[in-house]
Amino acid sequence: MDLVLITPEIVLLVSAIVVILLDLFLQRKSLLAVISLAGLAISFGCAVGLWCGNPQTTFNDMLTVDKFALFFKFLFLVISALVILASTDYVSKFTRFQGEYYALVLLSTLGMTLLTAATELITIFVALELISISLYALVGFLKDSKSTEASLKYMLLGAIASAILLYGMAFVFGFTGKTQLGDIAQAIGTLSLAGGSASFGLLLGLILLIVGFGFKIAAFPFQMWVPDVYEGAPTPITAYLSVASKAAGFAIILRIFYTAFDLPTWLSQDWGIIFAVLAAIGMTVGNIVAIPQVNIKRMLGYSSIAQAGYLMLGIATMGLSKSHDFLGQSSVIFFLAGYAVTNMGAFIAIIAISNKVGSDLIEDYAGVGKRSPLLALALTLCLISLTGIPLTAGFMGKFYIFSAAVQQNLLWLVIIAVLNSVISAYYYLRVVKVMWLDEPKFEGSVSSSGALRLALFLACFGVLLLGVIPNYVMKLAEWAAQMMGF
């Protein structure tokens, strides 16, 4: 056992415990945020230290620390840091449980970082549950009726999804006799010669896996929980759900389907087509239902369903790829990075604005552009990036994914996707219109704390960086995709 390989996780765990303990003694609760950030930073440092070097496995091949895992660890740690920065305003209003809030964020981050390295079905399941259970608690943190309803809904549906996922894993185990992803791939190799009922059972297991993960990434048709949960949860947690939780789901989909089920070809073609169809329906449904929304958090909820559709386009590309290049994977990874900064930025801006206008209704955002031009500009930038207009991360991500898909003869799907981008422009720009064109309904400017502004600045910087000089992150994403070990 090589504990060095899991130092980032150990640091996260320790800092979560420290935060809970210190919460008992500290009077200045704002220090808790600082400690959490410090923990994240140290963990980030440890992960950077592991970057150079070959993929290494540990704990009886249950964990693999490779560039893929490390890339996502970077991503999750950065997102968590942004969430914590964005939460400080919000959390300082709580009278109790401030320590628990930060600790739960850290614990679910721990689950995500573990998940990225997990290469064994049981470990994957445990890591997923760690993420989910922390999030169930966080969603219900406001303790008002909406928040409680959201939490309950999320937990009930999440539990069902977990059960289905486990059922799917059981099928896979039943027909291959293995739980380690590399072993599964080998077992399938010998199995495919036999064919018959075994391959049918395996496919059933795969479909159940897709259903289970589909819930985590909020893909159509498993997205029913999204709008209510997004609306009811504390806004920083909504951001966290829409970005980190989704990215974690995609990370593990990439890993499982690439390492365990990529061969034989008929298998990957089968799940590739399933993802392609889900992608087409998902983005269309998400975008169309987003149009009539009046609550901005619900609107972004539906938009995230559509974004999951674009991402599944990349997964489908990976499945249908005959040449076994890494374009599909690296485009999904890059898109996720771009989507993460963009959506975080949008939610952080929403936290600041909603704080002032006291509502999440789009019509109440009227005149933000006149009262606080910089904030409105930041939100505009993020919405433009979500639409996929150039010089933003969103455009580069879409360009990359679509170009990968065209190469696999998925032009029909790309045309559906680009038309969907046009539909999405309508509802994103409507918010822009309300902010800049309508007369303000409130007095004074939108005030926000330094932490929030820092987080917003970092997110916007990320959006522009990935949009104008995407080269470095693209290179990282490519490495991550190529160096996926098992």
């Binding site: 150039p390 190469q407 032009l411 309508y426 720009l429 800049w436 080269n471 693209m474 490519e478």
Partner: protein, 501 residues
């Protein structure tokens, strides 16, 4: 060339936009001077570029003032700009209009900081479109333009401005969505994003991932919305009618030309076979554009809407010229794009002055203005004569060359000489054009003078200055067209070679 003059011209307006964004709204004068300076310098540089451009026939097809730098090596994307005979006139036109629209906007008092920042950003993106030789860069520049236009129309516009702004954005994005799919399929056919390389090797020498015709139509989709080609033209009258004057000038002057330019640069140059194959369809659409556009123009009662619909008709000439696929017709089409930019730009600018000074935009409620505002009348009449294609204006030579070229075209459907016949029908468009322009002049400026317009101001000094620049350019090109046709020919010759071979 070590001195990156094109990049300088393209990005100076963007720099100006950033500087303006850093000032405050209360310093309107300063903002306007910054805007003027940061558009005047690119104009001066562009004049230098224009005159140092090598027009000798040996330079045909050679990209001049080229700059190339690796940008995203992973997908072979380069920052690659350069000019040839087709792009130079339009590039130059944009720098000219960029400066003039700042003068035209001098009276803007509503949120001047944002207004001029967006205006300069718009100029940057259009310049970028004309100079880009890399597909990704081209597309990015093409898309950036949407954002400034959305704000410019929806904040500083008039009438149903928000509706028009949304309509404009959605139409444009619909077109560029098609174009993106087309660009991606070209990219995976050729594994290159360089327009120059793909044109040089010929798309036929690659194994296509999707049928060539599909790529051709996907790309054409984006350009057709922009030009606009019937039936994708309905955004244009709304956007023009409700946009502020300066934006209408840019919109008519150069934004529409992005469509025509794209057709020449991409559809015809990269897909010569498909262009020849589908030319009859596009020639038919061009005829519809010309006749239908002109017929609808006759019925308009809003002065800006009328000019907007006349643009639809005039862009039909461009489409006809492009897809007749002869040297003369393509040269004529490019010249028509340049000339229309000047003439319609001046028409919109003057219509803006009339509307601003009289507070009236309904043609039926105007009349007899020649007595009260003689100078504006003269300017508007000259622009109108240009739009009619009266000899010695640039409009005449452009339309003449277009029709001459398209009549020589050998595009056939079976044995039916479609290009020749449709050209003859399209010439009716000129007749209709004369009709709507003269009728417009009569209704607005002649007839009996009305008392309610007695105190109306005539053009002030600034307005006379920029109108004079427009008029000088219109006559310069009209009297001495070879100043442009020489340049255009160096760009068209290689395209004709591709079509012939």
């Amino acid at each position: 060339m070590n001195f990156n003059i094109l990049s300088l011209i393209i990005f100076l307006p963007a720099l100006g936009a950033i500087l303006i964004a850093c000032t405050s709204n209360s310093r309107a004068k300063l903002i306007k001077y910054i805007a003027a300076i940061f558009t005047l310098i690119p104009l001066i540089l562009a004049i230098c570029v224009f005159f140092s451009f090598d027009r000798s026939p040996t330079m045909a097809g050679v990209i001049q003032f080229e700059e190339k730098a690796s940008w995203i090596p992973l997908i072979n994307a380069y920052y690659h700009v350069g000019l040839d005979g087709v792009s130079l006139p339009l590039f130059f036109l944009m720098t000219l209009l960029g400066f003039l629209v700042v003068l035209i906007s001098w009276k803007i008092d509503l949120r001047p900081r944002e207004y001029f920042a967006w205006l300069l950003l718009l100029e940057m993106s259009i310049l970028g479109v004309f100079a880009s030789l890399d597909f990704l860069l081209f597309f990015i520049m093409w898309e950036i333009e949407v954002i400034p236009m959305f704000f410019l129309i929806s904040i500083w516009g008039a009438g149903r401005k928000e509706y028009s702004a949304f309509k404009y954005v959605l139409y444009t994005l619909f077109g560029s969505a098609m174009m993106l799919a087309g660009i991606l399929s070209v990219y995976f056919t050729t594994h290159s994003l360089s327009m120059v390389d793909i044109t040089a090797r010929g798309i036929a020498s690659y194994i296509p991932v999707v049928p060539q015709a599909l790529m051709f139509f996907l790309l054409l989709g984006g350009f057709a919305v922009k030009l606009p080609v019937f039936p994708f033209h309905t955004w244009l009258p709304d956007a023009h009618t409700d946009a502020p004057t300066a934006v209408s000038v840019v919109l008519a002057g150069t934004l529409l030309k992005m469509g025509g330019y794209g057709m020449i640069r991409v559809c015809v140059s990269i897909f010569p076979d498909a262009a020849r194959q589908f030319a009859p369809i596009l020639i038919s659409l061009a005829m519809v554009n010309i006749i239908y556009g002109a017929a609808v123009t006759l019925k308009q009662t809003d002065i800006k809407r009328l000019i907007a619909y006349s643009s639809v008709s005039h862009m039909g000439f461009v489409l006809l010229g492009i897809f007749s696929l002869t040297t003369v017709s393509l040269t004529g089409a490019t010249l028509q794009m340049f000339s229309h930019g000047l003439i319609t730009g001046l028409l919109f600018a003057t219509a803006g002055i009339v509307m601003h000074n009289t507070h009236e935009r309904d043609i039926n409620k105007m009349g007899g203005l020649a007595r009260q505002i003689p100078i504006i009348t003269v300017i508007f009449t000259i622009a109108g004569l240009g739009a009619m294609g009266v000899p010695s204006t640039s409009g005449f030579i452009a339309e003449f060359m277009t029709f001459l070229g398209s009549f020589q075209s050998d595009i056939l459907v079976g044995a039916f000489p479609i290009a020749k016949v449709f050209t003859v029908i399209s010439i009716l468009g000129i007749l209709l054009g004369a009709g709507y322009i003269l009728w417009l002049l009569q209704r607005v400026f002649y007839n009996a003078p009305q008392d309610k317009f007695n105190g109306v101001h005539d053009a002030d000094k600034l307005e006379r200055v920029y109108s004079a620049i427009f008029i000088i350019m219109i006559f310069l090109v009209g009297v001495y067209p070879s100043i442009l046709t020489n340049v255009i020919k160096t760009g068209i010759t290689p395209i004709i070679n591709l079509l012939g071979g």
